[in-house]
Amino acid sequence: MNQTEVFNQIKDIVIDQLDTDAPDIQLTTNFKSDLSLDSLDVFEIVDKIEDTFDVEIESDEGLATVGDLVNYVLEQKA
């Protein structure tokens, strides 16, 4: 899996968590400041990512942006 594939899947998961129409999601998009998600929302996203990619994510520490999650998944899968 390359970065684009992981990014696209994570983007779908994030959009699914949001109630609004698909916003412009980039690697730099910050969950809290750009998407105003609360920590519960972020954990729901993290849970879906665990299921989708079959990885374990112990905490949300250091996972502030979409790119952080993409890199985390890529490292786990490397």
Binding site: D16, L18, D19, L40, D41, F43, E44, D47, E58
Partner: protein, 307 residues
């Protein structure tokens, strides 16, 4: 298209809430002016909007005023529900209670909950990737050890909020972690709503409701407590129990689907309920209205449906 309404609960109020609607929507303004007269507080001033003692009244006034704007523009709803406080907004929308009755009532409800919380402080945490059976079993085990913790909000099949004493919630959290449930997320709450820790508030509310007259709801309003429509005769009793029994918003959403609803509109601050609706029933169309921008989105979507 069959519509259902969801009325927001507490916790998603935002700064400047309603200012844009007040400036642009005449029927919104009428309700807020009426609410300000009833409460003897000007609900358009930020200090009043942010007053914690008026938080519940502000949310109900905001939601009822929004409903007044939306109702003439939308098809009649097949059913409604709300989360906790949102049930009160729904009952006004269904003509069971009027504004003059409900606003002082929810101000008192706030005070009862704060008093009960001061007597028996509590905390709440959301448990993710769990099940109802697991949450019930762990809460039971902790109570057998002498600490208080209970299931409080059944939000989805896998997301359940627990509430109890600080020690009870901490012990339950340890047990969840030991059982492989990693995420138990503390919520910003100082009272354990919808648990027996609210017993004193529930008793005060029972006395307060004795003289309140409810009409039979004109539309089915599903109760979080019973997952059935509120009925005139049992309404008081159900609202009293609501403070000490868990909310079954998951079952209310299923009931709305069973009533044929395919489109749910969340009325009130935030989008927490539309998100829950989407998680429970991914096929539902959802929208939330809490500003001029989101109101216009719904209007635009309606124009497309009707051509």
């Amino acid at each position: 298209m069959t519509i259902g309404y969801l009325f927001s609960g507490q916790g998603q109020q935002f700064a400047g809430m309603g200012a844009d609607l007040y400036a642009q929507e005449a029927s919104y303004r009428d309700v807020i002016d009426q609410a300000s007269d009833i409460l003897h507080h000007d609900l358009t001033t930020p200090a009043v909007v942010e007053d914690p003692q008026l938080a519940q009244a502000n949310i109900v006034a905001f939601s009822v005023a929004l409903h007044r704007v939306l109702a003439p523009e939308l098809p009649a709803p097949a059913a409604m529900t709300g989360l906790s406080l949102g049930e009160y907004s729904a009952l006004v929308a269904a003509d069971s209670l009027d504004l003059a009755t409900i606003l002082p009532l929810v101000v008192d409800r706030t005070a009862y909950m704060n008093e009960a919380g001061a007597q028996r402080p509590g905390t709440m945490s959301a448990v993710l990737k769990t099940s109802a059976a697991q949450v019930e079993a762990i809460c039971h085990q902790v109570r057998e050890q002498g600490e208080l913790v209970y299931p409080a909000n059944y939000n989805t099949a896998r997301q359940i909020v627990i509430g109890g004493s600080a020690a009870g919630v901490a012990q339950a959290t340890e047990r969840f972690h030991a059982a492989g449930i990693k995420r138990v997320v503390p919520l910003n709450m100082t009272v354990a709503s919808h648990t027996p820790l609210m017993a004193a508030a529930s008793r005060s509310l029972a006395r307060r409701l004795q003289d309140v007259v409810f009409e039979e709801p004109s539309v089915a309003v599903y109760s979080n407590t019973t997952a059935r429509p509120f009925a005139q005769l049992s309404l008081r009793d159900t609202l009293v129990k609501q403070l000490v029994q868990p909310t079954r918003f998951d079952l209310c959403l299923t009931a709305l689907c069973d009533q044929g609803c395919d489109t749910l509109i969340e009325i009130g601050p935030g989008d927490a309920l539309s998100k829950l609706a989407h998680k429970n029933h991914p096929d539902l169309a959802t929208a939330h209205v809490d500003s001029v921008a989101t109101l216009n989105q719904v209007r635009h979507a309606l124009e497309e449906v009707h051509g």
